[in-house]
C-alpha cells in the first residue's frame, strides 16, 4: 500500500442509508472526513446528512472522483459491494461489515489480485489517521496526532491501545484495524511496509492474536525489511488449546505455533519488543 492512498480526499460510503451507515457517516463527518456521496441501490436521489445518495458507484463517478470507500453493506451483499468498488478502481476500500462468508472473501481476494485497489477488512474498525480523517468506526476522540503507527487484528483492542497510548502522551500517525477474519484484505505485512515507507512514522505497535500464523510471517518480514522499532503484543496468553474464543480468526488449534506464547517467543527472537499484556506493551513504548 502506498501512503498516498491514505491522504486521498474524496470518500464515499457504500450502504449509507442503513442504521450503521448513517450513524457512522455522522461521526466521520464530525471528525472532518470529506464524504462526497454514498450508495444505496434503489435510493438514488435521496440524501443522508446532506450527503447525496446514488444507486451505484458508476453514477457517483459521473460527478466526483473517488479516493476511498467505506463499506457498511450487510454481509449477504458485501461481496458484490467490494467487487463494485474494485471495478471502479477505488484506491482504498475499507470494509466494516462483519460475518461475510469466508468463501466470499476467497473470491474477493482473487479479484483484488492485479487490481488497482487495496482492501482493509472486512470485520474491522477501519483506518484512522489522527488529525486527518476517519474511515470507519474507530472512536477517534481518544486518539491524538503523533508518530506511532498501530496495526491490530482486533477492533476493541485497537481502541484500548490507542487510548492507553494517548493517555501516556504518545500520539499516532496511523491506527489500522485489519480485522479478525480468517481471510481478509491487507495484512500485517502490507501495513508494516506502509509504516516503513512513511518518514513521519517513528515507532510501530503491532497487536496480534492466537490462531493463524500471520504474526510469524510478519516477524520474518520485520527482520528483513523494517528498520523502525516494533512493539508487539499477542492476545490470548490464557487461552486453552483446542478452544475457539470469539470470532473466526482466533481459533487456537493443536498446532503449537499458533499459541500466544510461541508467537511471542518467535517475535522476541526476531528482535521485536514484546509484552504479555496491553498495559505492559504501552509501558514498553515508554
Amino acid at each position: 500500500m502506498d501512503k498516498s492512498i491514505f491522504t486521498g480526499k474524496n470518500v464515499i460510503i457504500q450502504g449509507i442509508t442503513g442504521k450503521n451507515g448513517q450513524f457512522h457517516t455522522r461521526n466521520m463527518l464530525a471528525y472532518g472526513t470529506h464524504i462526497v456521496a454514498g450508495t444505496s441501490p434503489g435510493k438514488g436521489g435521496t440524501a443522508v446528512e446532506d450527503i447525496p445518495v446514488y444507486n451505484t458507484i458508476a453514477d457517483i463517478q459521473k460527478d466526483h472522483s473517488i479516493d476511498a470507500s467505506v463499506i457498511f453493506v450487510p454481509a449477504p451483499h458485501a461481496r458484490g459491494a467490494i467487487f463494485e468498488a474494485i471495478e471502479a478502481k477505488i484506491p482504498l476500500i475499507v470494509c466494516i461489515t462483519e460475518h461475510i462468508p469466508v468463501h466470499d472473501m476467497i473470491a474477493v481476494r482473487a479479484r483484488l489480485k492485479g487490481s488497482k485497489s487495496s482492501l482493509i477488512g472486512p470485520n474491522c474498525p477501519g483506518v484512522l489517521t489522527p488529525g486527518n480523517q476517519l474511515l470507519g468506526i474507530i472512536p477517534a476522540a481518544l486518539s491524538t496526532p503523533g508518530d506511532i503507527a498501530v496495526v491490530s487484528r482486533s477492533g476493541t483492542l485497537t481502541y484500548e491501545a490507542m487510548d492507553l497510548l494517548t493517555k501516556a502522551g504518545y500520539g499516532q500517525k496511523y491506527i489500522i484495524g485489519i480485522g479478525g477474519d480468517m481471510v481478509r484484505g491487507s495484512g500485517f505485512i502490507d501495513c508494516l511496509a506502509l509504516f516503513e515507507s512513511d518518514p513521519e512514522v517513528k515507532r510501530i505497535v503491532m497487536i496480534g492474536e492466537i490462531g493463524g500464523t500471520d504474526e510469524i510471517a510478519a516477524a520474518d518480514y520485520i527482520c528483513r525489511s523494517i528498520t523502525k522499532p516494533v512493539y508487539a503484543y499477542i492476545a490470548g496468553h490464557s487461552a486453552p488449546v483446542g478452544v475457539q474464543m470469539g470470532h473466526a480468526g482466533a481459533i487456537l488449534g493443536t498446532n503449537n505455533l499458533e499459541s500466544a506464547a510461541s508467537k511471542t517467543a518467535y517475535l522476541k527472537k526476531a528482535g521485536i519488543t514484546t509484552a504479555d499484556s496491553i498495559t505492559e506493551l504501552v509501558k514498553r513504548v515508554q
Partner: protein, 352 residues
C-alpha cells in the same frame, strides 16, 4: 460449526463421495445387525482412544455395547446418536483434507500416505499441500495417485478430488477432513471418517442446515472452575487481553467472555447468571470499549444484575466509547464508580 461424523458423511454422499454403508442408532431404535462398527457421535476428537468406537462381531453383544457407548462421556460430551457402519476390510489408511490457507486465501488439498489416529504425530513438512481450484482436480488427482502410490486408483482419485472441491465450496465448508481415507482389499476408495466445519456466517444461504449442536459457546469459555476473577468484555481481542491482564496481575481468571457487537441488556444479564455459577469468583471485571456496543446498555444490564443477584461479587467497571457519558450518569446514581481503564481496575483489585 463442527458437524458430527454422520452429518458430515451425509453431505459427502450428496456430492457422490463414497462412505461406508451405515445407519443411525438412537436409544429405543431396533438394534443394527452385526458384524458392525459402532461409533459414538460426539463433536470432540480422540473418540477412538477413549473407547467410543467398537467393532462388534457377535449380535448378542450389540445391545450392551451400544448402551455402554451411549453412556460414555468423551471430554465432557455424551452422544445422543451412534453411527453403525459396515466393518471395512482395510488394505491401507490414508489422510486427505481440504482447508483454507489463510495467508494465500486459497483452498488447499492436504494429504499424507499414513492416515489414522496418529496422523497428528507426523511432521507438518511431511504432508503434501497443493492449492485446489475449480480447474485442477484432474491434475491433482493424478498427483495424489502418484503420491499415495495408487496408480490403479487414478481415475477414482480424480473424481474424488473434483467432488471434494464442489462439496467444499457449495457447502461453505472451512474444513473437510477425511481421516482415514480407506482403500479396501477389494479396491474400493471410502471415506472412513469425516470431520467437517461449516461457516456459520454462511448459514443465511443454507436453510437446509439442521444439525445436532454441541453446547459449546465460543463467546463464553470456562478457563478455570476455581478462578477468582470473572471477566466480561466486548470483542474477542479485548476479551482475551482482559484475561491476559488478570493473569499478569497474578490472579486467576475464571472465564473468557466476549459479549460481541450486538449485545442486548438481557444477554448481558444472562452472562452474570453464568458467572454466579463459579464458586470462588470474588471480583468481576467489566471492560467495554463501545464501538457498536452501547455503554449505556451495559450500564443498564449491570444495574439489573445488581437487583437480581444479591451476592454479586465486587464489580470493577470500565466503560469507554459509544455513549459512555450516559452510562457514567446511570451508574453514578447507584454510587457505582467507573475506572478510566483496565490498569486502574486491576490496580484497585490487587492493591485496593
Amino acid at each position: 460449526m463442527n458437524l458430527l461424523e454422520y452429518e458430515a458423511k451425509g453431505i459427502l454422499r450428496e456430492f457422490n463421495i463414497p462412505t461406508p454403508n451405515g445407519i443411525i442408532y438412537r436409544s429405543g431404535d431396533a438394534f443394527p445387525k452385526a458384524p458392525i462398527v459402532l461409533k459414538s457421535q460426539v463433536h470432540t476428537g480422540g473418540r477412538g482412544k477413549a473407547g467410543g468406537v467398537v467393532v462388534v462381531r457377535d449380535q448378542q453383544e450389540v445391545e450392551h455395547v451400544s448402551r455402554d457407548i451411549l453412556r460414555l462421556e468423551i471430554k465432557g460430551e455424551k452422544p445422543q446418536t451412534l453411527l453403525a457402519e459396515e466393518v471395512l476390510d482395510i488394505a491401507h489408511e490414508y489422510y486427505l483434507s481440504v482447508l483454507i490457507d489463510r495467508s494465500s486465501a486459497q483452498i488447499e488439498l492436504v494429504a499424507h500416505r499414513e492416515g489414522g489416529i496418529e496422523v497428528e504425530s507426523h511432521d507438518a513438512s511431511e504432508f503434501l499441500r497443493k492449492p485446489l481450484t475449480s480447474a485442477n482436480a484432474n491434475e491433482l488427482g493424478e498427483t495424489l495417485a502418484e503420491y499415495y502410490d495408487l496408480p490403479s486408483q487414478t481415475f477414482a482419485l480424480q473424481e474424488l478430488v473434483a467432488n471434494l472441491y464442489t462439496c467444499f465450496t457449495k457447502s461453505d465448508a472451512i474444513l473437510l477432513e477425511i481421516n482415514p481415507l480407506v482403500v479396501t482389499r477389494d479396491e474400493r476408495l471410502v471415506a472412513g471418517d469425516c470431520k467437517m466445519t461449516l461457516d456459520t456466517d454462511a448459514s443465511y444461504r443454507h436453510p437446509e442446515w439442521q444439525f445436532e449442536q454441541s453446547a459449546a459457546d465460543a463467546n463464553f469459555v470456562t478457563l478455570n472452575q476455581h478462578g477468582t476473577v470473572a471477566t466480561i468484555a466486548n470483542g474477542a481481542g479485548l476479551a482475551m487481553a482482559t484475561v491476559d491482564a488478570v493473569t499478569e496481575a497474578g490472579l486467576t481468571p475464571a472465564n473468557f467472555l466476549d459479549i460481541g457487537g450486538g449485545a442486548s441488556v438481557e444477554g448481558i444479564v444472562a452472562s452474570f447468571q453464568k458467572i454466579m455459577e463459579f464458586p470462588k469468583v470474588n471480583a468481576i471485571i467489566i471492560n467495554i470499549f463501545g464501538g457498536i456496543v452501547r455503554c449505556d446498555d451495559v450500564a443498564t444490564a449491570i444495574l439489573a444484575a445488581k437487583q437480581q443477584f444479591h451476592h454479586l461479587p465486587q464489580l470493577y467497571v470500565r466503560l469507554s466509547g459509544n455513549r459512555s457519558s450516559e452510562a457514567t450518569e446511570l451508574l453514578a446514581k447507584e454510587q457505582l464508580a467507573l475506572y478510566p481503564d483496565l490498569p486502574a481496575c486491576l490496580a484497585e483489585l490487587v492493591h485496593g
